[in-house]
């Protein structure tokens, strides 16, 4: 069975929010739209975003790390948001594993958002229905798009290409290879939800320079050495008899 997912590379994410607004832009006019905004030009604006970037600091100055952490629905293999839904609005597709909400069936009871350990469901206060990341279901399944564009909007937008998309059940897919080779990990596996989305950790590159590497025989300073003239004075040539 296919399980589509994102692998997000925290090693290169600079927190630019391209994924946040490209998602909003595609989806608000798409199948899962609109993504409404409350008080768009007034105090305390807030609205529906399927994808958000959170920024954290770890450590104490000067040993500080700053992390940008994009977060959207993880399309769990065993999603706790599905069985709690009283109307069947919340469902997981059998063909590709994407977790979706049917707004026509949703009664806005929010059980699903209480059940989700990751806080990625987005309640539309205007329409009173629950919304969430669809992995751009209306792009990835649209056969009228060229194959190179049958990807979530966030994946196409991401300038650092920190978002890899594919089938985690296919061992040869880019996502599976990335998870396997680069230490990809799921969020909070202890909940048993088997999140499909994975994250790649920070990796550090260092350079080790040994002291004897500093100086080489061709050190240009040698070129500047002045010829050492013998000290004036007598030599054996002068005094030997």
């Amino acid at each position: 069975m296919t399980q589509l997912a994102l692998v997000i590379d925290l090693n290169v994410c600079v927190g630019c929010h391209a994924c946040v607004t490209s998602c909003k832009e595609w989806n608000t006019s798409g199948w899962a739209g609109p993504l409404t905004d409350q008080r768009p030009y007034d105090a305390d604006p807030t609205g529906v975003f399927f994808n958000r970037v959170q920024t954290y600091e770890a450590g104490v100055f000067p040993n500080t790390e700053t992390y940008h952490f994009p977060k959207s629905c993880l399309h769990c293999e065993d999603p706790p948001c599905v069985p709690v839904c009283p109307t069947g609005a919340s469902y997981k597709r059998e063909d590709n594993g994407v977790v979706l909400v049917d707004y026509d069936k949703c009664i806005g009871c929010k059980y699903c958002s209480w059940a989700c350990p990751y806080g990625v469901r987005e309640f539309d206060e205007q329409q009173k229905v629950m919304k969430k990341c669809t992995l751009c279901i209306d792009r990835i399944t649209d056969m009228s798009l060229p194959e190179s564009e049958r990807k979530p909007a966030c994946v196409l937008a991401c300038p650092t290409r920190a978002r890899i998309y594919g089938d985690i059940h296919d061992p040869d897919s880019d996502v599976s290879v990335a998870i396997r080779e680069q230490g990809g990990y799921p969020l909070q596996p202890e909940w048993g939800t088997k999140p499909s989305n994975h994250y790649l950790p920070r990796r550090k590159t260092r350079i080790q320079i040994h002291e004897d590497e500093l100086v080489r025989v061709d050190n240009p300073l040698k070129k500047e050495e002045l010829p050492t003239l013998p000290e004036a004075g007598e030599t054996l040539d002068d005094v030997a008899w």
Binding site: S29, W31, E57, R206, L214, V215
Partner: protein
């Protein structure tokens, strides 16, 4: 709901796809805009565009919300009779009325004294046109935003290596192995840098970030080296000290391609002290560096002409020429200079441990030396030597405003360019690479006017409003050596102010120093808010009146697409279009989007019709140029020459028959030529057919070592990109600067600085970089004001543009002052508390946010999120004005009175770069009874005629149905 897999978005409504160029920041990425029933459905990166390769950022993806923003201006507006300036009381007028008003005013000024008209523009991307308009009008009072942005970066590097970062050149991360980013905010460059940085990291490159703050790009650095603001020069020179001490420099590169081995007169008693010793030879007058200089031959132990085949010259030592002149190689002078700049010395200044400084130097030096790249590319140098390969020392740097926005920035950046040169990384694989039309001569050829006589009634300006002085005689000063320009650019106060000093234009105009002006035209420059320093007082100047009750700045015209803070102060408002509604040319005559591998320029083509009565500013200038009869805009009989801006772009030539116009691609009658060729009537169509971008890829042998690459230089001359094919020797030692110093010492035969400025010029025009604390740190009490305060721009916003954007303002709704917890603890406040930030000139109340990602001597905030109440189409209660704040209120545009003058700009004394980041502050908690809103507050701006009526409490954007629902006027 319908099954999502059984529908296609392309079946929803009438779909059109158009290509153009983004303008949500200055990157200029290629975009593809999909329309549904005439409304924007989505904007995506153009995968075939050389700049962004399909990527798009948060801003670019939010273009819809800019297009349909309630801050849009749609009608020309005139301040109501009797209404006070700044009160936002306007009436709608017709464009014809607006043009008549301007024409009447400007034709009178032009006939009497053209310099009483001042034109200043923001990040306009059309300086080729705005600058030309000013020159044609005859006023020298023109500049764009470079003076308060990063002119130090442009000037410091162009005066050293003939190129600079960003639009002019950049780090070759495709081949670099070590990358050092020093003093870079998140916005210069945006997408191209993100793309390159991520690929660089994936390939295993090592990335070091040197910055007082760890955000954005620095977050993914392998190592973060926190540094105290304004001390970068000290760090760079200590690294240089260590590199020279260890012999970790590229001797071969320095000898062949820089002036390191050239002999400098070393005799303070002589008038030519500090100049290169030149021998007699016929030299054609030009703006290149003639090769009549000397080396010291190691083998013969005597002087010899530079670049004599087979000669190995000395870099170090002191010598006597045959005629008895004492000389030293330039490199020896650099070595002497950095002798005292030890890592231990710098550790104290920068806050970086000496061992770390040494290690940084060793990493740079050893990687450059031992991990060389050799590409099998044949090329021939300027002296006729054939090379079988191109060598690269894979250490790359990037830097921007963190170095630039200090009063010692020019010399710090000179030091950086020299460090990059010592490592042998200039225009080589894995190092720094130029972008066309760079490299250019050091300095480039265009010069400012020479004196007041260059400004004559009804006559174009004699000289360029902005140019590149190479000697004191190139300055734009009167008989007393004082400024002719309103902003005092190119005077002895800021001799190399190659981008002008827009940040002092309003203060100077208000004070009438050096003279009063009549009309100021501001184009998309938010001078009543985030583009001014000392903002609260600048706002007062804009409304200040003289003893006759007349405004001290008599007439203010503001052209903008949005209801900025500055619009409120206009007498006349001209509504501009958005980037999706107009033609634009990102011209080779301005700052194109060239790649390392060759020239690139691009255009915008409208994807939607303009809203209301708004009109592209270019059309306004063409119309005014025609009405005023400016020579470039009219035929010989005085009739209009160009129908509109697209017609101008196609048919304008820099001089009749020159073949050089605004666009480089598809020139010639049939589009068969590039860079130079006859106007092509189908040029716009050809750009349109090609994704709105023209990219000429140079042959590989012309892509590297271009400053000394004979093939490239001759190609560049043949295509009129340069006037000379002479080698562009790197100015490790700057004779240009020494000429100004000699003038200050009374040893220069030409112009000399006024007495009050002699010491300042002598000190700062040092031909070798030096470290000196920022001016403000020396002039204010740093015990009372112990902290540095910085701003940087978040990646999701650009300038002041994006608080109007319903999506982006949800990412950054208001800003905090980020403070290290240790600093906050010492000041007695907690995370999230209201505090005061106070400098010697003003104070601001804001909220504090603890951060371990900032060095304890620095506080910082995101710039341009804080807004004046009621501006930018926001409710007066919006977070941006109630909790958001503008740090500019505490930054002075002038220095405290000093020997050089009472009203010196708070700027670099060489370039006039605004020293935003020099500001010193103290912080303390607000009283418990104080209101929990930011201070200062301003009377809320009113909505303007033609702006959308109040938007609803919620909105749902669905393309094809939005404007009607939201009652947005067409």
């Amino acid at each position: 709901m319908q099954d999502p897999t059984s529908r296609s978005d392309s079946d929803q409504g009438r779909v059109e796809v158009k290509e153009t160029t983004c303008y949500m920041c200055a990157c200029r990425c290629g975009i593809r805009v999909t329309l549904r029933d005439g409304e924007i459905r989505h904007i995506e990166g153009n995968p075939d565009h050389p700049l962004n390769k399909g990527a798009i950022c948060a801003k670019g993806s939010s273009g819809i919300m800019k297009q349909y923003s309630p801050a849009r201006l749609t009608k020309p507006l005139l301040r109501k009779q009797g209404a006070e300036r700044g009160s936002s009381e306007f009436e709608e007028i017709s464009w014809e009325h607006a043009f008549e008003l301007i024409e009447g005013r400007l034709s009178k000024i032009r006939a009497e004294d053209p310099k009483k008209f001042a034109l200043f523009t923001g990040r306009d991307q059309m300086q080729a046109l705005t600058g030309m308009f000013a020159k044609q009008f005859g006023t020298p009072n023109y500049s764009a935003h470079g003076g308060f942005c990063s002119v130090n970066m442009a000037a410091g590097m162009i005066y050293t290596i003939g190129g600079s970062f960003w639009e002019f050149g950049g780090p070759d991360l495709e081949r670099a192995k070590l990358f050092i980013m020093i003093g870079t905010a998140e916005d210069h460059h945006s997408n191209p840098l993100k793309i390159a940085l991520a690929d660089f990291k994936r390939r295993g490159g090592r990335f070091i970030s040197i910055n007082p703050v760890r955000t954005g790009y620095s977050a993914i650095a392998d190592e973060w080296v926190p540094i105290k603001p304004g001390t970068d020069g000290a760090l760079i020179m200590a690294i240089t000290h260590e590199l020279i001490k260890q012999g970790l420099y590229d001797r071969d590169f320095l000898i062949k391609y820089t002036n390191s081995a050239e002999l400098v007169v070393d005799d303070p008693s002589r008038d030519d002290h500090g100049l290169f010793r030149r021998f007699e030879m016929h030299v054609e007058e030009g703006c290149f560096d003639p090769e009549n200089k000397l080396w010291w031959d190691i083998d013969l132990d005597r002087e010899i002409s530079t670049h004599t085949p087979g000669v190995d010259p000395r870099l170090m030592g002191e010598f006597k020429l045959e005629d008895g002149t004492s000389v030293k190689p330039a490199f020896q002078l650099l070595k002497d200079r950095v002798e005292e700049y030890t890592p231990e010395w710098a550790a104290h200044i920068t806050g970086i441990p000496a061992d770390t400084i040494r290690r940084l130097a060793h990493e740079m030096g050893v990687v450059a030396r031992d991990q060389k790249i050799e590409l099998p590319i044949q090329w021939t140098d300027s002296w006729g030597n054939d090379h079988d390969s191109v060598i690269g020392n894979p250490v790359a740097f990037h830097s921007m405003r963190g170095l630039a926005a200090h009063s010692n920035g020019f010399q710090s950046i000179r030091a950086l360019a020299i460090l990059m040169t010592l490592l042998g990384t200039i225009d080589r694989p894995g190092g720094f690479r130029h972008k066309a039309p760079f490299p250019r001569p050091i300095p480039p050829c265009p010069k400012p006017p020479k004196g007041p006589e260059a400004v004559q009634p009804n006559t174009p300006l004699d000289g360029m409003p902005l140019g590149w002085p190479s000697k004191p005689d190139d300055l734009f000063v009167d008989e007393d050596g004082e400024a002719v320009r309103l902003d005092k650019a190119f005077s002895w106060e800021y001799p190399l102010s190659v981008h002008g000093l827009m940040h002092n234009a309003i203060t100077n105009a208000w004070r009438g120093d050096p003279y009063k002006i009549d009309t100021m035209l501001l184009f998309m420059a938010n001078m009543a808010w985030n583009s001014s320093m000392n903002t609260e007082n600048v706002r007062k100047m804009l409304t200040d009146k003289d003893e006759n009750g007349e405004y001290k700045i008599p007439f203010l015209i503001v052209a903008d697409a949005f209801q900025s803070e500055t619009v409120a102060f206009a007498d006349l408002v001209l509504p501009d279009t958005t980037y999706l509604e107009r033609h634009d040319a990102m011209s080779m005559l301005d700052r194109p989007i060239s790649e390392f591998d060759g020239p690139v320029d691009s255009v915008r083509i409208p994807v939607v019709p303009p809203r209301g009565d708004c009109k592209p500013f270019q059309e306004v200038l063409i119309e005014l140029g025609s009405r005023l009869g400016l020579p470039a805009f009219v035929k010989e009989d005085g009739s209009r020459k160009f129908r509109d801006y697209p017609d101008f772009v196609v048919n304008y030539e820099t001089s009749p028959g020159s073949g050089i116009g605004f666009l480089a691609g598809w020139r010639g009658k049939g589009g068969e030529k590039f860079l130079k060729g006859d106007p092509n009537p189908r040029q716009w169509e050809m750009y349109k057919e090609n994704g709105c971008v023209y990219h000429y890829e140079l042959p590989k042998s012309y892509q590297y070592m271009r400053s000394w690459n004979r093939g490239y230089l001759e190609w560049a001359r043949a295509h009129s990109m340069t006037r000379y094919a002479e080698p562009i020797t790197i100015h490790l030692y700057s004779e240009v600067l020494q000429r100004f110093r000699l003038a200050a010492q009374g040893k220069w035969p030409g112009r000399i600085p006024p007495e009050r400025l002699r010491k300042r010029v002598e000190e700062n025009f040092d031909p070798l970089p030096f470290y000196s604390a920022p001016l403000e740190h020396k002039l204010v009490d740093t015990h009372t004001y112990p902290l540095n305060a910085l701003t940087q721009r978040p990646m999701a916003m650009y300038h002041s543009w994006d608080s109007q954007n319903a999506w982006l303002r949800q990412i950054h709704t208001h800003n905090y002052l980020f403070v290290n917890p240790r600093t906050a603890e010492a000041s007695g406040f907690g995370d999230g508390d209201w505090i005061w930030v106070e400098s010697p000139i003003n104070k601001v109340r804001c909220m504090a946010r603890f951060s371990e990602a900032v060095e304890p001597g620095t506080v910082w905030t995101w710039n341009a999120i804080g807004k004046a109440a009621g501006s930018w189409g926001l409710s007066p209660k919006a977070n941006e004005s109630q909790k958001g704040f503008l740090l500019n209120h505490v930054i002075s545009e002038e220095l405290p009175p000093c020997e050089a003058g009472d009203h010196m700009s708070n700027s670099d004394p060489v370039t006039g770069q605004a020293a935003w980041f020099d500001v010193r502050v103290r912080i303390y908690p607000a009283e418990a009874n104080e209101p929990e809103v930011t201070s200062p507050q301003f009377k809320p701006q009113k909505k303007l005629p033609g702006q959308d009526p109040k938007r609803g409490k919620w909105q749902a954007f669905v393309a094809g149905a939005f404007r009607k629902k939201a009652k947005i006027q067409e």
